[in-house]
Amino acid sequence: MSREKKFINDPKKISSEALAGYLFATSDYLHAEGSNHVIVANEFSPDKVGILIGGGIAAEPLFMGYVGRNMADCAVIGNINAAPAPDLILKGTQAINRGKGVLYIYNNYPGDILCFDMAAELAEEEGIETRTVRNCDDVGSAPSDKRPERRGIVGAIQIIKVAAGAASTSMDLDGVFQVARRAGEQTSTLIVAAKSGSYLENGEMMFNLADDEIEIGVGFHGEPGLGRQNMKSADEIVDVVLDTLLEDLHCKSGDRVAVLVNSMGATSITELFIINNRVTQTLPERGIELHRSDIGFFYTSQNMSGFSISMMKLDDELAVYYDLPAYSFSYKR
């Protein structure tokens, strides 16, 4: 089996060294709370609901890249592909609770559910109120009528943006929770893979795809998606992805959406521009108003070659929160 080269020192030190490096680069607006796995924004208004996000190491810059002004107040990061331990989540919860409670937003995986639910119980014992929104945006993982079974991937960023926007108003925990939940129900993502990424620890490929094949709806580690097909032009692939997303969100003519065009790691920014060109051209042709599209490396599967499109169906309230200025390592407005 071929192995790819990785710039690491010791597989056991990947998370600690990566988090330390990240914190040095962001020390003007972020700090570690007790552990480098608990990353907290320096500025945090005293009377708002706290937004806490988190998950394992592997899909960087999710989640650490989304802490900052009008973004999450804290990200709690686990080990490689493992949810953060409940005591770390509790530490983050304590750090950002200002008496108005804390909203947890994370991707829907069994380990994350176990750890965050346990942390929520620990927080409750300390009198800190929490609510939870699990992102279930991966269209490739389950049909739309089974949304709670879907894995969570890139769309988490859109939900975090909207929830943080709502929290920046004087809204209470239940209000922010309702906004985030509605945003989550209206957010879907598809990943298109052209080539597997390789594991950070050992450089081994996560899965195999033939040279002339792509897979639409593939999971973040190559979990089977909606099926493999031959490579086509960018426009043809984007059209399939958009049609699937629009159908999934029951979008009809006149609806308004916000889109994230994301590289899965190895696909170039030039290709993302080409993809976004088609998105911007063709959504109006389909009767859909494109409120905004953002382009970048928001969520990766190491060096997977491929891209994802996330789509959130907006209403007036969600649009207001989506448009608020924001500052974080990986999302700026």
Binding site: N79, A82, A85, S141, E223
Partner: protein, 234 residues
Amino acid sequence: MNWQFIMIFQHIHLATNGEKMKTVLDINDVVRMMKYVSRQIINWQDLLNEADRLIGDGDHGTSMARGFEAVLEVLDTEAFSTLDSVFLTIGNTILSAVGGSAGVIFCTLFRSGSKALIGKETLDSVCMAEFLEKAMEAIMKRGGAKPGDKTMLDALYPAVIRSAEMKQAPLGEFLKEMAVVSDQGVENTKLMKAAFGRAKTYKEGAVGFADPGAITTSLIFKYMEEFIASEVAT
């Protein structure tokens, strides 16, 4: 083997080995036993990773090794006055060190099990049986899985069932039987489709492979028993 037969066997055994035979363990023995178990699970790191690579993300061995390395360290440094505090500490240590589903589930095994040992200073089959029952109940509640879902419960559940009939046996025999039935439980997971975790995404593809968490569970019994057996032999 029914337990009356085991009792007869034990009786002979006791008669020949005299007071060297351990039917109960004190706190010091339990700490040494759990250090032995920890070292053995750490040794299984690569094999557990390999088992997990077939149906999961290939890191179960790494996770368990990280957890039990932390357990070894804490058992070396802390002093304990009751058995529940030993297992509570083991559970909490695994949770903090590992995170993820494996961290929570194996934490719950020890932490909820410890509730059967509150204030106790000796471990016997009766309280070990209660330990397993409490642990299983809590794991099912916490994780939402049930026997047959291809999880560690498929190694724990047969042990709980068998333990009810083994309470009167000496602890070594008790654990030996737990190791046997849980190992059979591991075998049975090979025939199951996964209902949880990443293995679920492999659908029928997971059939034919054992669940790594079930393997770890059966290893814990195996090495507990092995420790006691080695104590008898020395």
